[in-house]
């Protein structure tokens, strides 16, 4: 409040809802935005466009973003598992936008049958589902630390060094760059 913002944009989750109510009561314009899946991007762009007086530009962006979630996915030619944490192993499930990015890029998420955005699984489940790629959000060019761990060598993709290291700025959250992220992922899978 001390910075006197014209608008406060908050991610619509838990404590932010209370914070938004308090800010509104104090007279600070506040908006809560759902930004979990690709289909949330278009509505978010329209809301922000309307609130910042740039509705027309926002609409053209929103049409492009709507098409990301709406376009029919290509046939999957390969499979992957997104590993977001190694001990305990936490993977991305169907509820995450990363699952959508993989589908749109032509890859099958081997944990697409888990409805939640992310879930703890056993290492043996990853080994048994045998993804062709292990996708990791990382800005580094070197394989993740767990690649050196003996137990992870039971996963064939780890043993054979098939990692997709995806930069956080492109893949870390759904946003206007998601279209580019899909194209990047598709290009990497085709290599």
């Amino acid at each position: 409040m001390a910075r006197r913002p014209d608008l406060v944009v908050l991610y619509n989750a838990g404590p932010n809802v209370t914070a938004a109510r308090q800010l509104e009561r104090a007279g600070v314009p506040t908006v809560l935005i759902d930004l979990n899946r690709l289909e949330d991007l278009g509505p978010a762009a329209r809301t922000l466009g309307r609130l910042t007086g740039r509705a027309e530009q926002a609409e053209s962006l929103a049409i492009m973003l709507d098409s990301l979630a709406g376009r029919p996915p290509p046939l999957s030619t390969t499979s992957l598992a997104f590993v977001v944490w190694d001990n305990p192993p936490i993977v991305i499930g169907h509820g995450s936008y990363l699952d959508q990015l993989a589908t749109q890029a032509g890859a099958r998420n081997v944990f697409g049958d888990i409805a939640a955005p992310s879930a703890q699984v056993s290492l043996e489940t990853i080994a048994a589902r045998d993804p062709h790629w292990i996708a990791v959000l990382s800005d580094s060019a070197s394989p993740p630390g767990f690649a050196k761990r003996r137990e992870w060598r039971a996963v064939r993709a780890v043993r054979e060094g098939r990692f997709l290291l995806l930069p956080g700025s492109w893949f870390g959250r759904p946003g206007p760059r998601s279209g580019e992220a899909i194209a990047q992922l598709r290009a990497r899978l085709a290599r």
Binding site: N87, I114, Q120, E124, T125, K148, E151
Partner: protein
Amino acid sequence: MRWTLLAALSVLALVLSVVLGPAAVPLGELLHSDIVWNLRAPRALLAFLVGGSLGVAGASLQALVRNPLADPFLLGLSGGAGLGAVVAIALHLSGPWSLPIAAFIGALAALGLVYRLGLIGGASLDPRILLLGGVAIGAFAAAITTAIVSLADAAELRNAFLWLWGGLSGASWDSVLLVALYAPIPLAVLLAASRPLDLLALGEESASYLGADVERVKRRVYLAASLLTAAAVAVSGVIGFVGLVVPHIARLTWGHRHRSLLPAAFLGGGALLAFADTLARTVVAPRELPVGVVTALIGVPVFAMLLRRWTIA
């Protein structure tokens, strides 16, 4: 007969851990499966060793502080281990063993501080101060851990809590070998202290009259039980209830004599954790439950039954 039953239960828990899992491995292929040899077998053995260590550490500490609520993690070790792990992540220490080593160092630092506090009244180690010091050091370490996590940008730090909640996902033949080489030393120290621990139940003064070197026993038992717990937390995080509940269940059958109680607590703790881990891996497959959740789900009702029994008695 009761030893045969406990041994059979231990073997059954280990066999189930190896045979059952979220991945379908046909029985005929069990002996040739990579999943069984490289993942399930070391995980089952590590679960057994960690559960056994926590059982023995819990039984010894309950005797040392003469408090049935004493738990291996009550003495500040979990807080210290957590702080060590979070500092390792915040400093971006790499290497497959950086997290367990940092957690072990954190637990040892907490052990040292609590031990020093235990001696605050003079040369005699005061079990009541050990308990209070453990709670205070644990809370202090947890507060620093929370401060680091809340100030950090990295999502990795938030995930460090998942590691701390306990689990055996990091099990490998390396970690089994490490615990198998390390644990026998503190286990032997505790087993050797069986008789003095029996005497301590009569009170320090009586134990002393009956020939126990009370001060030496207290120091040895505290250090050995803590070192055992520190190793367990380093390889598997904080797995609650095993060290609290198993000694009480073992006492119901084997009584208060530590020469029998400690081996029974080892086998019982090992069997409980191996069994709990099998449940954690299979009941919601392909997802996995944190094993600490399963041990709590088993441990709390058992503990409630024990409390009821004591209250009635």
